[in-house]
Amino acid sequence: MLTAANLRKIFSTVVAVDDVSLSVERGQILGLIGPNGAGKTTTIRLILNIIRPDAGTILFDGVPFCESVANRTGYLPEERGLYRKSKLINTLVYLGTLKGMLPAEARRTALRWLERFELSQYADRKTEELSKGNQQKIQFTAAVMHDPKFVVLDEPFSGLDPVNQILLKEILMELRQQGKAIIFSTHVMEQAERLCERITLINKGKVVVDGSLAAVKKQYGRNTVRIEFDGDGSFLSTVSGVRSALVYENYAELDMGDGVGAAELLKMLVQRLSIRKFELVEPSLHSIFLDKVGGAPEGAGPQSAQGGVA
């Protein structure tokens, strides 16, 4: 569906996107992940022709971006906003017609989506009268109401309560089943892990990891041990044979180097902690992410790309 190859974008002196390639097929959700400022948003803007790449090619079913491609794409930007003083239904009809819909058709579809999100009673209200979460649902509607073949969702879950998160997840699954190609950008790894079939991890403008989630995990699938325990686990990261460790209050993920047996480790741990759960697993996307991005905590990533044109 979409193939982007060797994208490159430079803002004055900063290389925001450096030789990024990615692709997504019909019925597939691609997780575009990376720390803040990694170049995710810039990559998305390049793909959607909002800004032009300095190098690289972008093809939709073999065709470069043009008006008919624009009509078949939907976009939920990370930074949300709608016309505050305008009626919801008017805004949606306008954005629909900009995607090539006829006004009547756009109105019908918009009303159907409002119903689905239980927002029908707000149709004639102004956007500014709505809560943030509801505004977000409206904006999501604007991204998908014209039945696009290709959808880009930048952090679609942020700001939604758990009930609405479940609703949105259901809709995402539906969209996938309808055969849409979806790019889902996030820095919440758990969401990406649950929803995505493919992962493209970007850091500092470069693709660091790319492939199906299963393959990626397999590639990093060393001995990972997940434990739940009671007691002071602070020593866990210094246990011999542990390559890296994520230690929380009563949960830990230990990446064991080759050659250290799980049984041996368990024996040792039992002496110092009260173990509630001990399992050998593939690494979580989260730990792969931390491994690849160099353990940079959330929000402390290099602010290179998004400063320029973000």
Binding site: I50, A70, N71, Y75, L82, Y83, N90, L98, A142
Partner: protein, 414 residues
């Protein structure tokens, strides 16, 4: 292009329903009429009570004549005399009389007083003293009346019959007739000035209002980030064209309503408006000029991201438009001067300069063709440059590009 119309429709429909638009639609004519009518109305407002004016007549022979003439000439609306004259001093010591009269003025018993010295027949000088000497009407009326009386006395002394002089002396009226290629038409200064002024104001308001709306709509979309969705849905060219189209529609709606009011008023007062060919020619300038300004507004507005900055930049641009308004009177007096001709060729000024010049005195064909060509070419260049700047600048939030960056933007092939 279909999407440009969708954008235009949206801009037009959303703005026309806004309270700000309705308010300016109604308020503007009221303010305009207020500016035009109120000062004259206030100045020409009649008194409601007689004013008491004192007179110190050192000649001892003019007071009665002055009183009867002033009282019969100037009446209040209810028929009473407008001025009641009181003799406050005659031949006695002048200084004493003055002091006494000054006191009366300060107490408010007198509006003011006239001092007619014995020398008035020789040097024709009298004096008016009052708290308010800015009341031009009183000064003007008493000057006229006193002049007539003194003049008649002199005629009598010279042995001439004053009645005969009055009968022989008639006022002369200068009728003004405008000569054009098609013949002659009667048009006074007011008429010519009025239609020139009307067109200029229309041009001004069209640009000022829709230009401002244009900048603000761009700034709003940047602030609420809708711009990203828009640019991924339609080309920036469509977006820009749609905005200009929609908001000029809005401006035209507004101006049409005002023009209608203007036409009704001028018909009512019998003021002749310009002929059709003049209107058509002015329309060309109006449309080209509007597009030229719109491009400048877009170029200036797209790198901006806050309302405050938008306000600033639009008010500067509007100032340029006001310049011909300031020059209007001198242009009317001398529409053929080199200075005026040169100014008319500067695209920023062309539309308004021509709006003043054409109703007054049709410029030469060469001048009209040259100015239209220059304006059209500048409009094309401005549109092209604005499109370039718009395309990149609308996505630049927060930081304003420097002049250097804008030049670089224009150079890079996109």
């Amino acid at each position: 292009m279909k999407k440009a119309f969708a954008v235009a429709r949206w801009e037009y429909m959303e703005k026309i329903k806004s309270k700000a638009f309705l308010i300016s639609l109604i308020l503007m004519p009221i303010i305009m009429i207020g500016f035009g009518v109120l000062p004259t109305l206030l100045a020409s407002q009649a008194d409601t009570e007689p004013r008491i004016i004192g007179v110190i007549d050192a000649t001892g022979q003019l007071f009665d004549a002055l009183r009867s003439r002033v009282e019969t000439r100037y009446k209040l609306p209810d028929g009473q005399p407008n001025y009641v004259l009181r003799l406050v001093g005659e031949r006695e010591e002048l200084e004493v009389a003055k002091k006494q009269a000054d006191r009366l003025v300060v107490h408010g018993d007198l509006e003011g007083y006239l001092i007619i010295a014995t020398t008035v027949f020789q040097d024709s000088v009298a004096e008016y003293r009052a708290k308010n000497v800015g009341n031009l009407r009183v000064v003007e009326r008493f000057t006229a009346t006193l002049r007539d009386i003194v003049f008649e006395r002199r005629l009598q002394e010279a042995g001439v019959n004053p009645g005969l002089v009055t009968a022989l002396r008639t006022k002369l009226e200068l009728r003004t007739v405008k000569v054009t290629a098609k013949g002659i038409e009667e048009a006074g200064f007011e008429q010519v000035f009025f239609s020139a002024y009307l067109f200029m104001m229309m041009m001004f308001f069209l640009v000022a209002t829709s230009g401002q709306l244009l900048v603000r709509s761009v700034v709003e979309e940047k602030a609420n980030r809708v711009v990203e969705i828009l640019v991924s849905s339609c080309s920036p060219t469509d977006l820009m064209a749609g905005k200009i189209l929609g908001l000029s529609g809005l401006g035209l709606t507004q101006v049409s309503v005002w023009a209608l009011i203007g036409v009704v008023i001028s018909l009512k007062f019998g003021i002749a408006l310009a002929s059709l060919d003049v209107v058509l020619l002015l329309l060309i300038y109006l449309i080209l000029g509007y597009l030229f300004y719109a491009a400048i507004f877009v170029a200036a507005g797209s790198p901006i991201s806050t309302e405050q900055e938008a306000q600033q930049i639009t008010s500067y641009l509007v100032l340029v438009l006001v310049l011909p308004l300031v020059l209007a009177l001198s242009v009317l007096q001398n529409p053929e001067s080199t200075m005026v001709k040169v100014l008319s060729l500067i695209p920023l000024l062309t539309p308004t300069m021509m709006a003043i010049r054409i109703p007054v005195l049709m410029p030469s064909t060469a001048e009209i063709v040259a100015s239209i060509l220059i304006l059209a070419a500048s409009t094309l260049v401005a549109m092209w440059a604005a499109g370039r700047i718009f395309r990149t600048a609308i996505l630049a939030y927060g930081k304003r590009p420097s002049i250097g960056e804008i030049i670089r933007l224009l150079k890079t092939a996109n």
